[in-house]
Structures are given as C-alpha cells and as structure tokens.
C-alpha cells in the first residue's frame, strides 16, 4: 500500500484550524498538529494566576483540538525568534500591536522548516479568505504562501476552492471537490461544518488568538517600549503586562499592584528583579517598582501602596520596602487620597 501523505496542521485552538485539520484527516491524510507559543498567546490559564479563577476548569484549546481530532500536537516555543516579528513587522500592525500578516508568514515558515526536517509533505491552516481584515484577505493569501517558502505546499482546506490548486490537490492526495470555498466574515459555514463533524464546545475567541489584538495590552506594551527607549523585551516583561494594575506616577518608573492573592503570589516570583513593597501594618498588595527609583519615588510608591491596602483610610500605614538584593527597611507613610491619583497614572 502506498504511504499516506503526511501533513502538519497549524492548530491555534480555535474552530477554523480544528475544521481544516479534520477535512484533511477525512481524506486519509496523516495529520499532526503544531502550535506556536509566542508569549502573547491567550491561554485559558492566563487567568489562573488569579485565585478566584483557580477553581474553574481550564483547558489548553490547542490540546483540546488535538484530542478531538485524535492527532499528536507539538507545541513549539518561539518566544525568542518571535520578537523580531513584533518589533519590526514588515507589513505593519493591525488595529493594535498585532502584526498578523508577518505573524502568519513566520508561523507557516516555521511549519515549513518542521515538515522539511520531519519528512512531511504539506502544511494545513484554517485560514478563510475575508475572515480577518489584515491577514486573511484574497491578496495576502499568496503573500503568506510565497514569503514563508511553503508555496504550493500550503493548503487552506476551508477556502481552497477559491484559490489556485495546491500540490496535494494536483498530486491527488486531496480531492479538491471535497475541500471548501468559504469566503467572508460570516461564521455560519464553519458552525454548520462543526455540527456536521459533531464538534461542540469549541473555543470562540473574540478578536484574535493573542494579547497583541487587545487594546489595553497594546497600550501597556507601547508604554514599556516608550519609557525604556527600546523595543527589546523579555518573557517576564510581557507576562507582567498581563498581571495586576499598572500605574506610572512618574516617567522614570511604574508600579505593578497585585489585585488579589493569586496575583500577589505570582508577583512574588519577581522579587529578585524589582524593588518591591508590601504593607505590614495592614493587609495589602505586593507592589513591584519597574524603573530606576530615587528615595522620593519610593516614598510616593509607598503612599500609593498604602492607598491600595486595607489601611487606605488610616492616618499612617507601615510599608516594608525591599531591594532586589534583599535589603529591607520600613517606611511609615500617609496613604494617598483618591484625588491624589490622577486617572492618567493608569496605563
């Protein structure tokens, strides 16, 4: 018996990639999934940091998709290489800091490297023409195929009939008549196909698959870049943007205030990197100071910390201030009043 053709499917955890992989599986293709972790991905678990969310069952949607399909899923850490995509997108950003077109090209390129290394034949994505304004347009589809180097080894089973025939179609591995011709923003064809396959309870992320499409998140990332004077970032930087309240009282530093126990515990993991403070006379948050701070800045941050503690109405709150090296001292401060915290401090 001839060997089955082998394909890797980009699995985001959303419905479209789940359907695309299933369409190829149904045509007798051996499919394995690949999922790229950029550091910005929206995970069901991102909120698991927060204690109140700990009890809720969570799942990784990409793994869930793989289980539904009965295929292997390879999760690949691309945090380092992805920085260049975020910092210098050749095709620019979408509505926020989402470099969707460059991101797609990059991921398909990584998948191309993967199939070449593993001896697989082609790549599947769940893209649909017209579904997303930046990366899924009729004119961007060939750009992704070309710039990734995948060429006609890139198949989009959900809209293949609106595109030129790909290698797997011309070689007869995939029957073009059994692929689809979805087009436009409507989700109805996908939902109907999901029903046909018996998929229920699939994830329906609003907006996009990562935090870069989120306005608030993008504002925080822009602030980080602007105040540092460089767009370089590391994983801790972008993780911390997902946690706590961020306020910038002065240009040279910002504070990250834990909103509840789970966040405080998460922020504790960063004590070796930042000056940090915690109220000792009253219950209150752990606060990290990001930036070069003077004694005056520390005093202001301590008063702010006191404001977010149970002692906000007390005459005085004691705050323990610790240097990243461990040196600690106590400060007695008067909490800031609500009026003393301008809305503009909030990032």
């Amino acid at each position: 018996m001839p060997q089955k053709p082998k394909a890797v499917a980009l699995i985001s955890g959303g419905l479209d990639s789940l359907l695309a992989a299933r369409v190829a599986l149904d045509q007798g293709v051996h499919v394995e999934g690949i999922n790229f972790y950029t550091g910005f991905c929206v995970e069901g678990h991102t909120h698991a940091i927060r204690k109140q969310d700990r009890a809720r069952p969570k799942r990784n949607n990409a793994l869930w998709s793989a289980e539904q399909l009965g295929i292997k899923l390879h999760i690949v850490d691309i945090i380092e290489e992805y920085k260049d995509v975020v910092i210098n997108p050749k095709h620019g950003y979408g509505a926020n800091l989402n470099p969707c077109l460059d991101c797609k090209i990059f991921m398909v390129d990584k998948a191309r490297e993967w199939i070449e290394e593993k001896g697989f034949d082609f790549i599947i994505t769940g893209e649909v023409i017209g579904q997303r304004p930046m990366s899924q347009r009729k004119d961007t589809m060939p750009v992704i195929a070309r710039d990734s180097g995948a060429g006609d080894r890139l198949v989009r089973p959900l809209c293949a009939r609106n595109l030129p025939a790909t290698l797997p179609e011309t070689l007869g591995w995939l029957d073009r008549d059994k692929l689809y011709g979805f087009n436009g923003r409507s989700r109805k064809p996908q939902m109907a196909l999901a029903e046909k396959f018996g998929f229920e309870d699939y994830a329906q992320p609003a907006g996009g698959c990562c935090f870069l499409t989120d306005k608030q998140y993008s504002v925080k990332l822009s602030d980080l870049w602007a105040t540092r004077g460089t767009r370089e970032y590391d994983l801790d930087d972008i993780m911390l943007l997902k946690v706590g309240r961020h306020l910038r009282p002065r240009p040279n530093f910002k504070v990250i205030v834990g909103r509840e126990e789970g966040e405080n515990r998460f922020l504790e993991g960063y004590r070796k990197r930042f000056v940090h403070m915690i109220p000792t006379s009253h219950t209150g948050p752990l606060v990290l100071l990001d930036g070069e701070v003077s004694a005056d800045d520390i005093e202001l941050a301590a008063r702010l910390t006191a404001r977010f503690s149970q002692g906000r109405d007390a005459e005085q709150v004691t705050i323990e201030v610790k240097q990243p090296g461990g040196d600690a001292r106590s400060l007695d401060v008067v909490p800031l009043t609500a009026d003393e915290i301008p809305a503009g401090w909030y990032i």
Binding site: N35, H45, A48, N60, W64, I71, K72
Partner: protein, 78 residues
C-alpha cells in the same frame, strides 16, 4: 532506573508542557519523568498532552502551591 526531573516551577502554561515535551523527546519508551510545577493549569494540560502522545500519567501530587506530575514515556515517543 533514573527519573528525569523537569523543573517548570514559576512557568505559566503552556511552558511546562513545552519543557516536558522537550525532555521526553530525548527519552526512551518506559522512562520516567517527574514534572514540578506551580501553575494549576498543568493538571489539565500535561495529562491532555500525555493522552494525545500516548504517555502515561502515573501520579499527580498536588500540594497547596506546588504540583508534581509523574509520567511514563509511551511507545510512540513524542
């Protein structure tokens, strides 16, 4: 037989899964792996990852803030 320990403490999902996967690639069927984690999401993700790759989860030991998951590598490798 020795156990490979993967220290994924203070990492958020899916990094513990990725670290586990990277360790398992280098091992043989039957080998033992213990993953130490702090993100509660791992109790869903690591078993799910094991199921799709055919590895066996032997034990999940959940303390208040630390979780240890013991795995036996399955036949298909990674």
């Amino acid at each position: 037989m020795s156990t490979t320990v993967v220290d994924a403490r203070n990492l958020l999902c899916p990094l513990p899964v990725i670290r586990t996967q990277d360790a398992v690639v280098k091992l043989q069927p039957g080998d033992a792996v213990q993953v130490l984690c702090t993100d509660p999401g791992v109790v869903y993700d690591i078993p799910a990852w094991c199921r799709v790759h055919g590895h066996e989860v032997c034990d999940i030991n959940e303390q208040e803030y630390e979780i240890a998951i013991s795995i036996r590598v399955g036949e298909s490798g990674s």
